[in-house]
């Protein structure tokens, strides 16, 4: 507006001096006027831009309120543009950083889960795995198809069902390599595609989580097997008893010689069953206490002597003698004396039963030079008590299973000599309770050596508050 007035004034002034100077002045004011309008014309959009930038800056909370457009000069406007744009860039950068952080913490969360987890796409290609999954299936499992590692038909069907019905599925399946394992798989559809962000082509579709239930299945199987075994063991002598009773009530009613004979056999069968029940109760009692370690001192030499006395009748029957070889000044062991007596009784009874008549059985007790690998506390001192016989020995492939309940190398012979099949299982559980170890060595036709390692009694452990 001011420019216009100046322009008018200039024209008027120019008119008033109508000589050469006036003409110059006219041109001057004309040019000035023209320049003025042109620059105003050019400036207007620029002013509009400035206005917009300032509005944006206010929106982004970079300015408290919009300053009047004309208060800002051109350079100030330029500065404010630059400032706003750089703030914008910072905002974008920090948003991206936050997103990357989120994705990283998502990955961390996935990795930390103990169960194998995999993210699959709709064609069952593996997009993402966690550490547990890579440990189970190998490091290079990402981008393979699921069927390269898991092909159980029910599992694959469950995956397809889950995709189709958009619903969770759960299925149990077995894996045979690298070791036999049983898993519970949970399959969950992933609608949000959250696992595939930032440059990934395939869309995540399914989440597969595996739960290792091998131990549970095994333990169930073992329980079922045990019940079956016990029933079988009881049924045989019972059937025999019933048979003889029927015979005595019927055909052999008046046969005195038969009666005598049959009654003896029935007595034996009944005693067998009784022994079995005793052993089962023993086993049950020990298992209940197994978690509590004993804490009494037990003198080893006394133990060995007592066993010799307790079993002298059985030894005499087979003309076998017991050689006791106990080291001098042996520290006591940390244990429960009647349980340790049972261990030795079971081991020596086996030596008598399966040893050759007339041969000696050696009971040796020493401070263990080196603890066996399965001994729970490698650094603790242990006493090694060995029962060595010169019997027929045990084939190598039987040895790992010897302490299994009802495992016998020769079933017929074992029953004949009155064995229940539980002797070594009882030994194993008692030794477990004592936090010791059992080592079995044997050579066929030469003999066997059963050595139990039991922790020594260390009084300091009770006072130092270990």
């Amino acid at each position: 507006m001011g420019l216009f007035l100046f322009f008018l004034y200039g024209l008027l002034f120019a008119d008033s001096c109508s000589n050469g100077l006036g003409a110059c002045w006219q041109v001057f004011t004309l040019v000035l006027g023209l320049l003025g309008t042109v620059s105003l014309y050019l400036l207007r959009p620029w002013l509009k831009v400035r206005e917009k930038i300032l509005t944006l800056a206010v929106d982004l909370k970079l300015l408290d309120k919009m300053p009047k457009a004309k208060d800002l000069s051109l350079s100030e406007t330029a500065e404010s543009v630059v400032f706003t744009l750089s703030q914008l860039q910072d905002n974008i950068r920090s948003a991206t950083d936050t997103m990357l952080d989120l994705q990283q913490s998502q990955t961390d969360l996935l990795e930390s889960l103990p169960e194998p987890v995999m993210v699959l796409d709709a064609d069952l290609y593996i997009l993402r795995t966690n550490d547990s999954a890579r440990t189970l299936f190998g490091e290079t499992v990402v981008s393979k198809n699921l069927t390269a590692i898991l092909r159980d038909p029910e599992l694959l069907e469950a995956c397809h069902n889950s995709l189709r019905k958009n619903d969770e599925e759960s299925i149990e399946f077995k894996l045979s390599t690298p070791v036999e394992q049983v898993f519970q798989a949970r399959i969950k559809p992933l609608p949000h595609r959250g696992f595939t962000v930032l440059n990934e082509h395939n869309k995540s579709a399914l989440l597969l989580t595996l739960n290792d239930i091998t131990a549970i299945v095994r333990s169930e199987q073992m329980r079922a097997d045990f019940v079956a075994n016990v029933s079988h063991e009881m049924r045989t002598p019972l059937a025999s008893l019933i048979g003889f009773i029927e015979t005595l009530l019927g055909p052999a009613r008046n046969d005195m010689a038969a009666k005598e004979n049959f009654l003896r056999i029935m007595e034996q069968q009944a005693k067998n069953m009784s022994r079995l029940v005793e052993d089962l109760l023993s086993l049950s009692r020990i298992e209940m206490r197994e978690h509590t370690q004993p804490d009494d001192p037990v003198e080893v030499e006394a133990l060995l002597n007592n066993i010799a006395v307790a079993l002298q009748l059985q030894l005499k029957e087979k003309s076998m003698r017991l050689i006791i070889d106990c080291a001098e000044d042996l520290p006591p062991v940390r244990g429960t004396d009647d349980e340790l007596m049972q261990v030795l009784a079971n081991l020596v009874t086996n030596a008598i039963r399966y040893g050759r008549g007339g041969t000696p059985i050696t009971l040796r007790a020493r401070l263990a030079a080196e603890n066996p690998p399965q001994f729970p506390h490698p650094e603790a001192r242990a006493i090694a008590i060995s029962v060595i016989d010169q019997g027929i020995g045990i084939a190598a492939h039987h040895i790992p299973r010897l302490t299994e309940r009802f495992y016998r190398v020769d079933k017929a012979r074992s029953r004949e000599v009155g064995g229940t099949g539980l002797g070594l299982a009882i030994v194993k559980h008692i030794i477990n309770r004592h936090r010791g170890a059992l080592v079995i060595e044997s050579t066929e036709n030469v003999g066997s050596n059963f050595t139990v390692y039991i922790p020594a009694y260390e009084p300091e452990e009770f006072f130092a508050g270990t």
Partner: protein
């Protein structure tokens, strides 16, 4: 291998083979469970699986022949078609043998020859592991793994030879065990055949990818046809040497020497 269609077709066929493989693995697993007496419905499950396996076998053959007829397959593609059809056949045979094992386990008397039955179970586990490995190798196109599986067939053959000899000896010692022994022999034979087909699959994989077969340097073969140990007559060994040899496995001294 540059034809854009072949990669997709290959993937399709491999997926079908994976599905088929999964069914066969399941069949063998069911058969081994039956052998360990852990299921009652082995027969039905293997029959159902068998039908699916046959279906997929037919489909694979269709796709392969169709592809060969309508396109100009490259050399590797042609090898692939050939190999896939053979692998499909071998898988179908393995499924059949598994079905037979499942059926036969119903006739076993589990009270007799228990250690031989355990050995058979162990052989079965080894076979199942091998099958899974070779299928993993197929999906991964991993020829190194395929070669390992092919070599490991020697272990299965060795187990078979030992088992065969033991079963023969067991039958000789106790005539009552002959029926059981026969069933065990057939089952062991089935497992050995499964092992054979697994190594054939491994060889076909190698052939598809490299064009060459394996060098046959394996040293362990099925030697049971040359076993001439006469079976000991029942009369001689009826009163078994129980009192002298309580811990030895139930073999007379002479058998052990062989």
């Amino acid at each position: 291998m540059s034809h854009p269609l072949s990669e997709k077709k290959q993937r399709e066929i491999l997926q079908l083979l994976a599905e088929m493989g999964g069914q066969v693995e399941a069949e063998l697993s069911v058969a081994l469970d039956a052998l360990a007496r852990r299921n009652d419905d082995a027969m039905e499950r293997t029959l159902v699986a068998d039908r699916k396996v046959d279906q997929i076998d037919r489909r694979i053959n269709e796709i392969c022949l169709d592809y060969a007829a309508h396109y100009q397959p490259s050399e590797q593609d042609l090898r692939g078609i050939f190999a896939f059809m053979k692998i499909s056949l071998y898988l179908e045979r393995i499924g059949d043998y598994a079905k037979n094992i499942a059926a036969r386990s119903e006739s076993l008397d589990y009270a007799r020859m228990t250690s031989l039955i355990s050995s058979l179970q162990r052989m079965g586990q080894l076979t199942l592991k091998s099958l899974s490995k070779v299928l993993n190798a197929a999906m991964d196109r991993d020829i190194k793994l395929a070669q390992k599986v092919w070599k490991a067939d020697a272990d299965i053959d060795a187990l078979y030879n030992t088992l065969f000899a033991d079963i023969m000896a067991g039958m000789g010692q106790r005539p009552m065990d002959v029926t059981n022994g026969m069933h065990l022999l057939f089952m062991a034979r089935n497992m050995e055949r499964i092992g054979d087909h697994i190594s054939n699959i491994a060889e076909m994989l190698h052939y598809w990818i490299t064009g060459t077969r394996f060098e046959d340097t394996r040293s362990v073969y099925d030697n049971t046809s040359s076993l001439t140990q006469p079976l000991i007559s029942g009369a001689e060994s009826a009163n078994t040497n129980i009192n002298d040899n309580p811990f030895a496995p139930n073999l007379p001294e002479t058998q052990k020497a062989s």
